[in-house]
């Protein structure tokens, strides 16, 4: 079977982000960018299915500016076979990303689409579900377990209060949660090999899709800062403060 994994280029998770002084957004100039960590888990899941002999091919796709090729190269170095870039300078919102991935799915006909449950920049947690809706495919979101057999995917999902297991008939969309796996680091030989792997570029116009933003960002601001508290010297003093100053315990 064939797997498509979708990856997003985001501000690296170790970067302490700064809000632009004119409140137009978050500073990204000169900031380290990386693959969205949840998408790394999706790529790793795809590579593992290849290594297990379950998948024959792993294709990766990204939607965004030319710089997304770096993100795709990381995925290729992790073990993906080839990459597709839908190139655009327009801000890509979740419905637009889902629309673009759907167009790629119609061309590539994968049996399974893997992608992170959310991107750590906009934190939307929407693209996988939207893609499943547009394709009329079943969805296994927030997956912490994935097993493929006999044309079906058994997906264990992280839900409030515990875990849920669903059985999806392929083709399906699975969005990955933290505990599904630990993504590998790309080794230097694999990074070198990845340079020879193809990255095919297209545009939304060529795909015949509309990816205009549906939402307008009016402003981006700093969250309110908590004012510093007081230090206490002992457990007894702490209990006294909670009872008599904060009055949060009886």
């Amino acid at each position: 079977m064939k797997i498509l994994a979708a990856v997003k280029r985001v501000v690296d998770y170790n970067v302490r982000i700064r809000v632009a002084s004119d409140e137009s957004g978050v500073e990204t100039n000169g900031v380290k960018m990386s693959m969205n960590p949840f998408d790394e888990i999706a790529v790793e899941a795809g590579v593992q299915l290849k290594e297990a002999g379950i998948a024959a091919e792993l294709v990766v796709v990204s939607i965004g500016p030319a710089a997304c090729q770096e993100t795709l190269k990381t995925a290729l170095a992790m073990g993906a076979d080839r990459a597709l870039l839908v190139e655009t300078e327009v801000e890509v919102q979740p419905l637009a990303a889902a629309t673009a991935i759907k167009a790629i799915v119609e061309r590539e006909a994968p049996d399974l689409v893997l992608l992170g449950k959310q991107a750590i920049d906009d934190d939307s947690n929407q693209t996988g579900q939207m893609l499943a809706a547009l394709l009329d495919w079943p969805q296994g979101t927030f997956a912490s377990g994935l097993n493929i057999a006999d044309g079906k995917a058994t997906v264990t999902r992280e839900i409030d209060g515990g875990l849920e297991t669903l059985l999806l008939t392929l083709p399906a969309v699975v969005s990955t949660d933290l505990r599904l796996n630990t993504p590998r680091y790309a080794t230097l030989p694999n990074i070198m090999k990845a340079k020879k792997k193809p990255i095919e570029r297209s545009t939304p116009e060529e795909l015949g899709i509309d990816i205009r933003p549906r939402q307008k960002m009016l402003s981006v601001s700093e969250p309110p800062v908590r004012t510093g508290g007081v230090m206490v010297a002992s457990a007894a003093e702490l209990v006294d403060k909670l009872r008599n100053a904060a009055k949060v315990i009886p």
Partner: protein, 313 residues
């Protein structure tokens, strides 16, 4: 304005998150609640007494028993005639379901709304809560998931709103529910608890985590954990507080042996009173704490437990 609020429930009880989302919904217009489930008439009744609700739609059928998005989304889309806003709490149920509805309606979605500025303008956290985005949607139907900690729970009243039966709609034959393993606990639900006591990597083992549980029980609270503690196997993953886990805002949050990584702070910094206990006086958790105690937790925690045992005796 006509608002459709999707209720969260387990077929017998309405989940409290629905009440928080109801408060957000009431700010937007006349609210109809949809209860989709199986043998869930008691839930519809509970929804009908939420203050500000004008009508309850009850879709009671086998295909809705497990709340599968593949079945519930087309049902909702069939009810959107004249609806201007569709809301659900930003729980794992809402997060799973709402984007599927939005895409079927060919509209965007605004996730984790924390403030309603107007009919089409909303504030939501981005970058793990390190920035707040004010967003205006251009879509005719506004699909919103509501961060429950940002809105008070709606009160209930003595009069009942009418309950109208709807559906069932189409069902998918390509998804089957297999099982659900829920953590059984006597403690309050993490996201709804008045007190949360969380442990971090500093606990150093699963056995030691019982200290956190003991303190939580003495305070009538829920147990939370940092991602580090969950990844180390000290606590189950549904305890995780943080951007990728649960977002909580209790009256009292006690962080024990938690350094305070950005991802953890994003999940608890809206708590009313924050207590931090850590032996490292430079731990970032102290920057958001109202009360900080620099001490080895294996000294401080037994002392605290003793203090409260005295109080409860």
């Amino acid at each position: 304005m006509s608002v459709l609020l999707i209720a969260e429930h387990d077929n017998s009880q309405l989940r409290p998150a629905t009440l928080n989302a109801a408060t957000a919904a009431a700010q937007l217009g006349e609210v109809t609640v949809l209860v989709a489930g199986r043998d869930c008439a008691t839930v519809a009744e509970a929804a009908s007494v939420i203050d500000g609700i004008t009508k309850v739609l009850l879709a009671d059928a086998e295909i809705y028993e497990h709340g599968l998005a593949e079945n519930v989304a087309p049902l909702v889309c069939g009810l959107t005639n004249s609806v201007t806003h569709i809301l659900a709490p930003a729980t794992t149920m809402g997060k799973n379901l709402l984007p599927r509805i939005a895409a079927l309606l060919d509209v965007g979605q605004i996730s984790d709304v924390i403030e309603i500025k107007g009919q089409d303008t909303f504030v939501r956290p981005i970058y793990a809560g390190n920035a707040l985005a004010c967003v205006r949607t251009l879509d005719p139907v506004k699909v919103l998931s509501v961060r429950t900690t940002a809105f008070d729970a709606a009160v209930t009243r003595s009069s009942f709103a009418p309950v109208e039966k709807v559906g069932p709609g189409p069902a998918s034959d390509r998804v089957a529910f297999v099982s659900r393993q829920l953590t059984v606990s006597e403690r309050p639900e993490l996201t709804a608890a008045r007190v949360v006591v969380s442990g971090g990597r500093g606990l150093a083992s699963q056995e030691n985590f019982h200290l956190v549980e003991r303190l939580a029980d003495l305070l009538g609270g829920a147990v939370g954990a940092s991602r580090a503690a969950v990844d180390s196997g000290y606590a189950p993953n549904d305890c995780q507080v943080g951007q990728t886990g649960k977002v909580v805002a209790p009256e009292l949050y006690v962080a024990v042996g938690i350094s305070g990584a950005i991802q953890h702070l994003a999940g608890m910094k809206d708590s009313k009173v924050i207590v931090a206990i850590n032996k490292d006086d430079e731990a970032p958790i102290f920057q958001v704490a109202d009360y900080g105690l620099v001490e080895d937790l294996f000294t401080a925690l037994p002392q605290l437990i003793e203090e409260f045992e005295k109080g409860s005796a």
